[in-house]
Symmetry: C2
């Protein structure tokens, strides 16, 4: 496979795929890109070794190819991780498209653009798709997969399965949403944090401590929805929305509240119940508690 | 000490303080409150036992007192955790104030009201203060401490020290902000999540998975600010803001972006540098990686 663009994200992909036993050809037009990539892979390798390398893998065996056409000629998959610049990505995807066998999927690490915007200059846009990882791609499981207007739905399915087989946790999205899902959520929090600093309401350190020592300890175990499902006590999310719905109108963030229509209320409650999958509130509480303790212990904080 | 109000939060406080060896008198006017509290404390006890009980503590030894005046007559500290209803909290704080020795601090678990709004009916408002925990209070370290207009600053300091001695991680706030800090941040994320469900952009399950398998794995280790400090590569937060500043204007959440003035930019960069405390980006990356691996392992996911 080819990793095109080897900054923090692309270099993380290179390290991940090498550790998983894939043959990786790296390409990056930047000055000193090869050395920078070697530094990134070296930094990631102890973590990957600790998690367990694939059979037959010993050291990181990066092949760096400065010529894009030479890199892509034999590719069976391409992951593009160029800087976030729409024109640059459009041109690069078209360049990759021109030199890669037409049946090979080209996936982009873009953290915000939709593939519909990026695939417009490709001759074969149907095989272009977004596969958005999280930093560092060699540790964080999540990959968000979503196609553009011209993407073949089969390519979206294939790419989701490809990342799953490579050991990632995949969310396949039906709709192009700027920022996808996790970035929308973490950006909402970050914007609020910036507002708080700007208004002198909290310092950077207080903001970070409020998360690492507060709700951040729950989020590797239960996401924001299931977290609030538990905040409702035995009544779960239904109690939470019915009881605290009005307080959603309080000025608790600068983000206007979504109108809590009966449809939205039911969708959220039913989603939590589906996700709980029969686990009672007591069982979820016990699961969360075990998880938080494990996290605190693992971090040497208990 | 007295825990007044023993729902999910108040009951969690009771369990925590009992495990830490404090003598706790619980009061709650609700029907079957004593039984519900016993259930809550029993559910919390295995976690607290695993974390280690204070010397001399064996089982949970709750003293339930149905009469508020009798409960508070001998109190050396009162933690109020009544339902989130401003009128109710105003009246209850005034009632507690009337029956508690005047040199004893009365702290409120309120998750959103400012003490200025709540202390208005107290004869001795100077000893009332917010001590806002996170659910579950017996596991999540964070307590946000902030006074109201009439609170004695000495009471704010004393309460911060009290919670610190009791083993909590304390943020002492200078300013009353609705929702304090962590709730502002998690509410911003939750509102965005509700908008996404309402717009059919993501399901409840996708939202939760995007956090538990994505950025949520980093947040017990580094908060949102330090997380973005690392996303900037070797250039840190300064590079992040200078390079991605314009993309803050992208429609990545429904929350309007804070205007990135030079002052805000510098405050955030300097805050990250203070927080990093001399740790280089490479050191922070290694710390994050060790942490994420420990978290994944602890949760049986690696």
């Amino acid at each position: 496979m080819v990793c095109a663009g080897t900054g923090v994200i692309g270099g993380g992909w290179v390290a991940y795929f090498l550790a998983k036993g894939y043959r990786v050809v790296a390409w990056d037009p930047g000055a000193a890109a090869e050395e920078r990539l070697a530094h990134l892979v070296r930094a990631a390798w102890p973590a990957l070794t600790e998690l367990g390398l694939a059979e037959g893998v010993s050291g990181p065996d990066v092949v760096f190819e400065p010529d894009l056409a030479a890199a892509c000629a034999q590719a069976d998959f391409v992951q593009e991780s160029a800087p976030e610049d729409l024109d640059l990505k459009r041109r690069l995807l078209a360049d990759i498209d021109a030199v890669t066998p037409t049946d090979v999927v080209i996936s982009s690490s873009t953290s915000g653009y939709g593939m519909s915007e990026m695939q417009v200059e490709c001759a074969h846009p149907e095989r272009t798709v977004v596969g958005h990882p999280f930093n560092p791609p060699y540790l964080i499981p999540l990959v968000e997969v979503v196609g553009g207007d011209l993407t073949d739905p089969e390519v979206v399915s294939w790419t989701s399965e490809f990342f799953r087989l490579a050991g990632k946790s995949v969310i396949t999205m039906d709709k192009e949403v700027p920022g996808f899902i996790a970035n929308r959520l973490q950006e909402a929090m970050w914007r609020e944090a910036l507002h708080m600093v700007a208004a002198g309401e909290a310092t950077v350190e207080q903001i970070d401590l409020s998360i690492t020592d507060g709700p951040g300890l729950r989020w590797p175990i239960h996401g924001p929805m299931l977290t609030f499902h538990l905040a409702g006590g035995q009544g779960g999310m239904a109690h939470m929305l019915d009881h605290f719905g009005p307080s959603l109108l309080s000025p608790w963030t600068r983000l206007l509240a979504a109108e809590l229509t009966p449809e939205l209320r039911d969708a959220v409650v039913e989603g939590c119940e589906r996700e709980a999958g029969g686990r009672s509130i007591d069982e979820l509480v016990a699961e969360r508690d075990r998880g938080v303790i494990a996290v605190l212990r693992a971090l040497g904080r208990a």
